[in-house]
Amino acid sequence: MGLAKLNSLYREVILDHSDHPHHKCHLDDVSKEIELKNPTCGDVINLEIELTDDDVIKNIGFTGEGCTISQSSASMMTDAVMGKSKDEALKMAKTFSDMVIGKQHPQADLDELEDAAILSSIMSFPARIKCATLAWWALQRALLNQTGTGEG
């Protein structure tokens, strides 16, 4: 039965995050904000970030709609970067982008990603990689003050 293989992608934790996304909300104090769309599938993410004076992510929230993968990835991303410095968060975004295309990283880097590390399974589903990276792209672009573009 083919669907059994779906369990390798849609692990419990992923379905859980997409059913009950964390930090899916608007913030009161927004330092950085971005709207990013994935033109391929129409998914959209709004990301709001509150930074402390010394560039630590004090709060983060996302809204928007999308598939299971993009929603749970956004949820897991917000969990992982909460309380991290801007530089740490950017490094994590890089680790994530590398991970999903199969580039090697030290285990310690992957551990940093917390739940998000489980999305390494996306590698076997190349057409879905963009769904997984959309939130991390948004994070990166927001922190670097880039505008939203189509590239999700």
Binding site: L3, K5, Y10, E12, D19, G42, T68, A127
Partner: protein, 415 residues
């Protein structure tokens, strides 16, 4: 299922494979069609016996290649019932053909204040060329809407098309709604207002008998790859009188008579529009696809697809967990069926179906304005062709049931 069609399954070795451990059920035909052996063999034959550049050659291979290339044009001409081969221009595909018209006829004829009328269902390839032309020329791009049923609204068409309209361009068959549009009626409307009628035949020519003279279209574009021909080839039909009047689209070898340092003259139709070395093998392969379709008979092809729609569509429509777009009457629906599984994103649906071996598309189907009009982000889409069977329809139904189960009622590990 008629046996005549099923006998053809053996012509498509690609369908005889497993993906993800399941029998491949290819239902992404609106994106591109599979190729019968007759087509790949025609490519092999050309490359391994006759390959040469066409037209200018005196030697034997060049003569054979030229003959095969022009014979392919004749085949296409007869397939769509163009009045003469000179009215058939080989292109890269539908997109190339539509851009050609917008950049030549459009560029030469549209002025500020003119109207271009398309429909809200248009594929980006029959939308953006006109949109950008309208922007360049300060013309107005207008959209014909849909009826409740999802069909093109002829009443609205009669409103949108006015005496300011210079070009009407509509898909002969929609790649999302599964409808056949009334091109002949639209052409009459357009002509009554002094406009020309362009049709995007990408989803029509592969599936129904097309007669460009009966439709009375001025231009008609389609792709080879969707009708079982090779990639990188298509054809643009144009009425001679219009083709004569418009300027060349690209410049280079083969499309000239005389080239001087500061000026040049263009050769006759159809070569005036075929600059540089064309996709010679592609044209010959397209000719083979035309032969293949003609052999079966387009009415037979259409009837076969209709029989699948008659079987499948009511079952999909009856399923309360599914939203099915376009007309729900099978008689009004082509083999292109867009749908959504409620509560599951179409990308997840497509991935799940793929795990069951069922290949469908998910996304906006290059029709973002239509998605916005329907208040949708994306849909899944199953599309059938002559090699699909009732078993394929059943496989889709079974895989959809499993997908529903997986995402909505738990997998044994979730929810």
């Amino acid at each position: 299922m008629d046996t005549k069609i099923n006998n053809h399954l053996a012509d498509f070795p690609i369908l005889n494979q497993e993906v993800n451990g399941e029998r491949l059920v290819y239902l992404d035909n609106a994106a591109t069609a599979q190729k019968p052996l007759a087509v790949t063999e025609s490519l092999n034959h050309f490359y391994q016996t006759d390959n040469a550049n066409v037209h200018r050659g005196v030697h034997t291979l060049a003569e054979r290649a030229t003959e095969a290339y022009e014979e392919a044009r004749d085949k296409v001409q007869h397939f769509i019932n163009a009045a003469e081969p000179a009215e058939v221009i080989f292109t890269k595909g539908t997109t190339d053909g539509l851009n050609l018209i917008a950049s030549t006829y459009g560029e030469q004829n549209i002025i500020a204040g003119d109207e271009i009328v398309i429909s809200i269902t248009e594929h980006h390839s029959n939308l953006i060329p006109w949109q950008q032309l309208a922007i360049r020329k300060h013309a107005t791009l207008k959209y014909i809407g849909l009826t409740e049923d999802g069909e093109l609204d002829l009443v609205d068409a009669a409103k949108q098309i006015t005496n300011h309209t210079k070009i009407v361009s509509v898909a002969h068959a929609s790649n999302v709604m599964g409808t056949i549009n009334p091109i002949a009626e639209l052409a009459q409307l357009a002509h009554a207002h002094g406009a020309i009628m362009v049709a995007d035949g990408a989803q029509a020519v592969p599936h129904v008998a097309v007669d460009v003279q009966a439709l009375d279209v001025d231009f008609y574009a389609f792709s080879g790859h969707k009708m079982m021909g090779p990639t990188g080839i298509g054809a643009l039909y144009g009425k001679r009188e219009l083709l004569e009047r418009i300027k060349p689209y690209q410049f280079g070898g083969e499309m000239i008579d005389f080239v001087h340092q500061q000026d040049s003259t263009w050769t006759q139709l159809p070569w005036k529009f075929e600059a540089g070395t064309q996709n010679i093998a592609g044209a010959i392969g397209l000719g083979a696809a035309v032969d293949y379709l003609t052999d079966i008979g387009m009415n037979q092809v259409a009837a076969h697809e209709q029989s699948i729609v008659d079987y499948l569509l009511p079952k999909l429509v009856a399923d309360e967990d599914l939203e099915v777009y376009g007309p729900h009457d099978p008689a009004k629906h082509t083999g292109v069926i867009a749908f959504n599984l409620k509560g599951v994103h179409p990308h997840d649906v497509a991935t799940a179906l793929d795990m069951e071996g069922v290949a469908v598309r998910a996304g906006h189907h290059c029709a973002q304005p239509l998605m916005a009009y329907l208040n949708l982000v994306a849909t899944a889409r199953a599309s059938f062709y002559l090699y699909n069977t009732q078993e394929d329809a059943d496989a889709l139904l079974a895989a959809l049931a499993e997908t529903k189960e997986f995402f909505n009622h738990g997998t044994g590990e979730v929810k």
